[in-house]
Point group: C2
Chain length 299, copies 2
Amino acid sequence: MKLQQLEAFVWITRLGSFAAAAERLNITQPTVSQRISELEGQLGVAVFKRVGRRAHLTEQGRGLMPLAEEMMSLRQNILHKVANPTHISGTVRLGVAELVSLTWLPQLIDRVSRLYPGVTLELDIDLTENLWDKLHQGVLDTALLPKIIERPSFETIFLGDTHFAWMGSPSLNVPDRQLEPAEVAQWPVLLLSQHSNLYSIIENWFQDGGARMQRRALCNNLYSIANLTICGLGVSTLPTDLYQGEIERNELTVLQTDPPLPAVGYWAAYRPAESTNLAAIVARLAAECTTFSMADPTQ
Amino acid sequence: MKLQQLEAFVWITRLGSFAAAAERLNITQPTVSQRISELEGQLGVAVFKRVGRRAHLTEQGRGLMPLAEEMMSLRQNILHKVANPTHISGTVRLGVAELVSLTWLPQLIDRVSRLYPGVTLELDIDLTENLWDKLHQGVLDTALLPKIIERPSFETIFLGDTHFAWMGSPSLNVPDRQLEPAEVAQWPVLLLSQHSNLYSIIENWFQDGGARMQRRALCNNLYSIANLTICGLGVSTLPTDLYQGEIERNELTVLQTDPPLPAVGYWAAYRPAESTNLAAIVARLAAECTTFSMADPTQ
DNA sequence: CATTCTTACGTACTGCGTAAGAATG
DNA sequence: CATTCTTACGCAGTACGTAAGAATG
């Protein structure tokens, strides 16, 4: 019996098909078949019943699953507790909300590559909802994103709050006083796509203020939104920390609003019994990066 | 990281040398070296410090040991709980007190080979003390023997009591009444060797009765002692069940003694976290055999 | 100098991917 | 007919044993 066989078994069970497990493990699907048939041969029992083109767990398979998962987590335990970080190698599929990609991500990558030079990060920058979906599907190991609701099937680590403010080009001649939602609504709004977390925050902000926004554009790319804002095409909600430079150079003006925009909490999420607990390592490093950068933003 | 590597590591640590682990695992010593250097390479830390020609655990090695042992026992857990017994294979080194070899052993072998056809038993019939030593050394997986004192490092399963009686040839003209130790001492005694459990029992029996025996012969083989007894060379303590036939055929006579000989409890002993928990399986089967045979001695 | 671990090397085998096949919805 | 698993086959890397070497008590 080999660890690889159990690993294949675990991922087939989690993802529901041999093919999905193969993709997840970066091996071909026939190889997954082979690992399972070897496992079954050595145990002397079938762990999957092949009904049609779908594989379901047999009774024995259901018994095996918790033990195999324990095996996987024990392996990772060994790697954590006794292995030299320099020699840990593997790939972490890291989903990143775009805002994070614009702030802490470079630090995180730097930190990972210094502490775990053998670890490769596969980045996927996407919108919040898509990231959760991919986490569930097992396509991602870890995601850095705003936590909307509790997801009991994942561990989460708090990363930090990000503060947003309405910003616009100085050419908009924004008055230097508190503005209410209805006043902000006089300018067209540049928004992140509906799948994003920020979209619903802004929608609520206007709704609660009894105003209706005029959407100038939806975009799935925050960086582009900032550019469009600088060009004077409308107002948008941007992270204040990130655009401090533009504000000081008078390329962007902050709109003082009442109520202010709520702070957005960001979290690292990962599967608790991750086959590679590199997922957890990266999540923890991410948390370190943000506390670090919040204490000393120049770093 | 592979299970084989951890297995080698565990056995080196238990037995204290690469060579001993190699013998234990039925592989060559260079192969053990290779497995360890691979393990160390993949963990990026040395688990043994090679001081002189002796290998001692490093700090990381000490951390690894409990995790590796847990891994081994988890593997065996899987084999037990989900594997088909017919497909379980391996070798169990079974130490057997000679008395057991003369009574339950054939049943045990039969039972093992019927339930676990893939399992090979390597029998080692020896005296009690030697069996304990070999268990400690890791040469044996399981031993069936009288339990003299508590051995906290082993699990034990009670097998049953065996009753002994003084026996002699009818040619000795044993009187048909209760004999005291001093009277038994008139005949020369045929004894199991000093390393045996029976030896000390008999020595105590005479001592407590205030008598001194005349030792005719010490032998490490109970079967031979029985033969010598039948030939009239002296008296000996033999298991009553086993020699019922000889008694009925008037080849042996039972000496009625006061006090009678104490019953001897037999136990199966094995390492708790045995790398192959086949050790535990065999111990349990042994227990089943004896209860079986005591309920129905014809089987 | 015997014991113990390491290194070197040849061989046999295992495990993977590609490609083709079978089954199913 | 697209999707999913199985089978067949060839190649490459792995893992073992033998043999020789180094170190030590």
